[in-house]
Symmetry: C2
Subunit: 220 residues, 2 copies
């Protein structure tokens, strides 16, 4: 039988399922991603997805690996410090595009190929720069911990969009000054200020950690 003309949709495959799941989670949040909605998005019944993904946990693992695949692989062309700095900024940028990914890492234990490739490249750069095995482990652990934790916290900060700012200031001043004076001071006089810069805050921490690692590395 000839394929009818309205059958424009190409055959489903694993990459399309995972890609569509990532897009859906970006748009509507991870908590509203269901096999049924994902099927609907792809013009297919939910049960068809099980031909390409063994269950929802498998899909989740693949989504996280898909996010890692978007991160630029750190290149060994320069010194370890600028390579690690660029990588950190790239990781944060990608994770900010997929805010659900960081929280999901808590429940997943089997890293995919893109994740392993990424970590292998990081360790490779540190080892070639003369870091011992132990020091390379500690360096990548500190850097990754900081990056993931920063992204996790970034979501919970009040958005500095104008409009909500003025209102937030008033509410804060009234409600919180007495009970949480330092939080109130910080929010009003720093976080809600027009010049507040998330990127600069992130890079302050990265440079502080890189300074520390350089010192430890030289002392060895």
């Amino acid at each position: 039988m000839i394929n009818p003309g309205n059958e424009a949709r190409a055959r489903l495959n694993r990459d399309k399922v995972v890609g569509s799941a990532i897009a859906l989670a970006d748009a509507s949040g991870i908590e509203s991603l269901s096999m049924r909605k994902l099927g609907g998005e792809l013009g297919v019944e939910a049960m068809s997805l099980y031909n390409h993904v063994s269950n929802k946990g498998d899909l989740t693992d693949a989504m996280i690996d898909g996010v890692f695949a978007e991160i630029d692989l750190p290149s060994g062309g320069t010194d370890w410090r600028t390579a690690m700095r660029h990588r950190a900024i790239s990781v944060r940028k990608v994770l900010a595009r997929h805010p659900w990914a960081t929280g999901l890492m808590e429940s997943r234990t089997t890293p995919g190929p893109a994740t392993l490739r990424h970590h292998d490249a990081v360790l490779g750069i540190l080892r070639e720069a003369g870091f011992s095995i132990v020091l390379a482990a500690q360096a990548s652990s500190v850097l990754d911990s900081y990056i993931y934790g920063f992204v996790l916290q970034e979501r919970n900060l009040p958005a500095t969009s104008m409009g909500s700012t003025k209102l937030a200031q008033v509410i804060l001043a009234r409600l919180a000054t007495q009970d949480y004076p330092h939080v109130a001071e910080m929010t009003v006089e720093h976080v809600l200020q027009p010049g507040y810069d998330h990127d600069a805050e992130f890079e302050f921490g990265i440079d502080l950690i890189l300074d520390g690692l350089e010192r430890v590395c030289r002392a060895t």
Copy 2:
């Protein structure tokens, strides 16, 4: 009518609901915490919970605040550095007891009173030690990011329980050495070694960050 003798269970209240939810999440994981199971644990139908909690999001917020309430409030008796060091270790210890809490922070935006009290105490110690508003914000941001990210990653590391170690070594040696040589080297020669110490790894990062903060603080 007189209360019958087998009615031993005291009246339900919000604290009992939240406490039971935390215990259930600790024991069986956050993904298997449902209003129905929680009700069953408390000897009550699921719908009764809505008398003490406005919905599941409200319950989640309260659970996270309950976890923060377990953390020792940083005390101002000593210098900021040892206070921050003790606090960091206390936060990690508590979050390790409730591994679901860190991942959940991604989706929550309204901090509870215990959370605010905690952050207020941290900021207070830094401000009294002479940190400017901006520097206090950056200091607590770097420290918290590192702590949360470390706990998040800690879960994904292979358990160093004997027995699984030997097997893991064999699997790794066969499978991964070729594709991910640095990850393989790191795992076999460091992470899976008997002396591997999570606490020491955590404290290495904390001390590195505290060193950096001390230097920045003195330069001001």
